[in-house]
Structures are given as structure tokens and as C-alpha cells.
């Protein structure tokens, strides 16, 4: 009997959902992922902030980091957004073979964003690029920004991206002979940014691909947990921290919590490099879609 009870739901899970079921499930999962991301930071980010407090010697830097940790705890307890800039919805979707990739599927993600905006609530941030009229629900042409790739199950990862840090991101088409210039470009990006992107930041660095592809790579690097850096990433991170910009640009040892790098093959005559700047509120969450 027990076996049967456990068996039936898993069989039902395998059946392809109707269009309506799928729409509702995707919308719900998007909304849940956004709620999780907006109100609770991943544990690897919190751990990095805690290590930073212990490492700082400047009183102002310690105060700033202390307030950040207090704010994170308060947001989680009250289930409200960590930051008032709740960002624009960047969404990564993995789609399994049995699920048709249709406009309806993407519309379901947008529906989840609208619900989240209303229910959490989120600040309506999405506007027409030139007229600056606000759509009021965080969706619009091209928003949410959805990246799709094949996978084993239907999974939604959200990366709400605030403007303070996004605005300081940069891209360079370096020459193939300028490998030694990568570190300089990354460090310069942080120097130019100063306190504006709400440091301590996390840097997503894309190297290779094409002009547009490298920017997407840099953003994808921000999906990686920050509890581990390879030697190259660590080297970049140390170079950035040597600037002493510190928490909020008020000085200190912690300018970047981590640097994460993603690479792709590129043209023999090119070396695109992109740096996507992420504030300390590195919000990301994943929900599997169930129906």
C-alpha cells in the first residue's frame, strides 16, 4: 500500500501537463523563486559577508558590513525585499525534452513576474527605454529577460538585477595579444565604479565568445556560488581588493567578495572581455516546476 501511494504521484509527475497546468505551474514557480531571491540571500553570500566583517580593520567598514548583515537578517524575518531596488527580472530556464518551448511558456514566466510584483511586493522598475513610461508590473517587451537551455527538468532560476551595480558594468574588445590587460580592465571597472555599485561587489567576468555573448557569459558567472575561486579568479579578486575602495566606497579591505569567470571559444582575432558588476545583495534562487 505504501509503495502504491508513493508510486502514483511520481507517475503523475511524468505525464505531460496540459497547457493550462503548465502555465499555472511555471507562473507559480517563477513567483516563488522571486520571493526567495528577493527576501533571502544565498548562504554562500552571507558567509562571505561574515568573513569580510572579521577581516576588516576600519571601523567605518565594519559598521557598514554590520548593517548589511543586520539588514539581511531583518528582511528574512519580515519576508520583505532585502533592497528597495528589487531589480529587473533576469530568468534562466532549463527546458526538458517533453516540454514544448512555446510563447506560452515564456508568457507564463512573465505572469509569475507580474504576480510577484504585486504579492511580494516588488518595486515596478521596468520602463520604456526612451519614453521612460513605467509598465507598472516589471514586464514589457524584452522583460523578463529569459535565457533558455535544454535540461533534464523544467527549472527556473531568477537573478533580479538592480541598476546601481548593473550601470557600472563594462565590456571591452581586447586584442588577442592583450591577455595581460584582462586584470587591468577588471580592476579599472571597479576603480571607475567606486562606491556607486554598493560594494562589496561580486564580479561576473566573461572572456571569449562574441560581443553579445561575452556579456551574457559575465552575467551567467554571477549564478555561480562564491565559496570557491580558482587561482585566476582569486588573483583578480586580490587585485580589485588592493584598491581599498571598501564597503560602500568608504574605504576598507573588502571591495569584492568574489570574482567568478566564465569563458567561451572565440575568433582567433578577438578577445572580448565583459565585467558584470553585482552588488552585495547577490540575489539568486532556483525553483523546479512541478505540476
Amino acid at each position: 500500500m505504501e509503495i502504491i501511494i508513493e508510486f502514483i504521484p511520481s507517475v503523475l509527475m511524468m505525464l505531460p501537463p496540459s497547457g493550462e497546468e503548465l502555465f499555472a505551474a511555471v507562473s507559480k514557480a517563477t513567483c516563488l523563486a522571486l520571493r526567495e531571491a528577493e527576501t533571502r540571500l544565498p548562504s554562500d553570500v552571507i558567509a562571505a559577508l561574515q568573513r569580510a566583517v572579521a577581516n576588516e580593520t576600519s571601523e567605518i567598514a565594519r559598521e557598514e558590513l554590520g548593517r548589511i548583515l543586520e539588514n539581511i537578517a531583518l528582511a528574512g524575518r519580515l519576508e520583505v525585499p532585502i533592497c528597495q531596488d528589487t531589480g529587473v527580472p533576469v530568468v534562466y530556464l532549463t527546458v526538458p525534452p517533453g516540454i514544448p518551448l512555446t510563447d506560452g511558456l515564456l508568457e507564463a514566466v512573465a505572469d509569475g513576474v507580474r504576480k510577484a510584483t504585486c504579492e511580494i511586493p516588488l518595486r515596478p522598475n521596468v520602463v520604456h527605454p526612451l519614453e521612460r513610461t513605467n509598465t507598472g508590473d516589471n514586464t514589457g517587451p524584452g522583460m523578463p529577460e529569459i535565457h533558455i537551455r535544454p535540461g533534464n527538468c523544467l527549472k527556473i532560476t531568477v537573478l533580479p538585477k538592480g541598476a546601481g551595480a548593473e550601470n557600472m558594468s563594462r565590456l571591452a574588445m581586447l586584442l588577442p595579444t592583450q591577455k595581460d590587460q584582462i586584470e587591468r580592465f577588471v580592476t579599472e571597472t571597479v576603480l571607475v565604479a567606486g562606491g556607486k555599485p554598493c560594494p562589496p561587489v561580486i564580479l561576473g567576468v566573461g572572456i571569449g565568445g562574441t560581443f553579445d555573448g561575452v556579456a551574457a557569459l559575465a552575467k551567467e558567472a554571477l549564478l555561480e556560488p562564491i565559496d570557491h575561486m580558482d587561482p585566476f579568479e582569486k588573483e583578480l579578486c586580490d587585485a580589485v581588493n588592493a584598491l581599498g575602495v571598501g564597503p560602500m566606497g568608504l574605504g576598507g579591505k573588502t571591495t569584492a567578495l568574489a570574482v567568478k569567470v566564465k569563458t567561451a571559444s572565440c575568433h582567433t582575432a578577438s578577445m572580448p572581455v565583459a565585467v558584470n558588476v553585482q552588488c552585495w545583495a547577490a540575489r539568486r534562487a532556483t525553483q523546479e516546476v512541478v505540476w
Binding site: 571601523e59 567605518i60 559598521e63 557598514e64 548593517r67 548589511i68 543586520e70 539588514n71 531583518l74 528582511a75 519580515l78 520583505v80 525585499p81 532585502i82 533592497c83 528597495q84 531596488d85 528589487t86 511586493p121 516588488l122 518595486r123 515596478p124 522598475n125 513605467n134 546601481g164 550601470n167 587591468r184 580592476t187 579599472e188 576603480l191 567606486g194 562606491g195 556607486k196 554598493c198 587585485a239 588592493a242 584598491l243 581599498g244 575602495v245 571598501g246 564597503p247 560602500m248 566606497g249 568608504l250 574605504g251 552588488c279 552585495w280 545583495a281
Partner: protein, 182 residues
Amino acid sequence: MNPVYLETPLSDEVLNLRAGDQVLLSGTIYTARDEAHMKMMKDGIPFDPVGAAVYHCGPVISGSRILAAGPTTSARLNRLTGFLLDAGVRALIGKGGMGSEVVDHLRGRGIYLAATGGCAVLAASRMILQGVFYEDLGMAEAIWIIKADRLPLVVGIDSEGGDLFGAVEREAKLQFYSRYTT
């Protein structure tokens, strides 16, 4: 370091504060971002600016509650701030610091207070919503009238040209150009 308690409307007392001083600010403050600054320049300031504190912030409001109200990047308002200081505004609150034109304009007039970027819930937990101007500009861009209770801030720019952000930036530039000589 013990924090200095300030209450709006602010007086000459702010002129004695120095960059790096910790402050707990109470009293009425007004949020204003890009659109509100543009509208105030055109239509006039809708509140009494004498001794006022202007907060660079676009909060999340739900009904009559402030849910999240951390600072926005102040540098976007570098060229839009002079008229407020001329009208008597004593304190600008925001994040990331402001340009040299504002540092100069603050001399003998007022101070820039740095709020911790992203600490929106902490800030909101010390605020009560009192009213709104320019609601038609939308939630992020409207001027929200807020009663603050001991908002934790640090003096980023003082009234004698002391600029914490500027000092950090100069040091960072030195580091950068010593590391990358080309």
C-alpha cells in the same frame, strides 16, 4: 565612536560635523530622485527647504507602509542639486558620494550623509510614512515625506570640503597606477 544625534530641521550644527562622523538622524526627510529633482527645478520645491534633509531614495511602499527604503546612487544628481542647497537644504542623504561641484556647493552650507546601500529594510524599520508629493511620477520617483527615527548614517562629505569618498578614490587611483604603469 559615539554617534551624533541630529534632528530636522537642521541648523548650523551640521557645519561642525566632519567626514567620517557617525550620525543618527531623526525627523522629517524627503525622498527625491532624478525625476523629482527635474520637476522641482521647473515647478518649485513643494516643501519648506530650510534645514531640510533630502534622501536620494525610491522606496517600496505598500499602502501606507514603507517596506524598503535604502539609498540610491547620489552621483546621478550631481548636476541637479545646487538649487536645493541654495534654497536652504542642509543635508543630502544617499550612497556612493557626489561630484566635486556638490562638494564645493556644500561648503559652509551643509553635509552629505552616506546611508548603507542596499540596507533597505533596516532603514524602513526606522521610518514612518507621512505623505507624498508628485505621486504621478510613480513609486520610485515620487517625493515621499518620511518621519525618520535614528537613521544610521556616516558623514561622507562635510561643510569644509572633507570628502571620504574623494579620499578613498584618490588612494585607489594611486594603487591602480602604481600597479599598471602603462
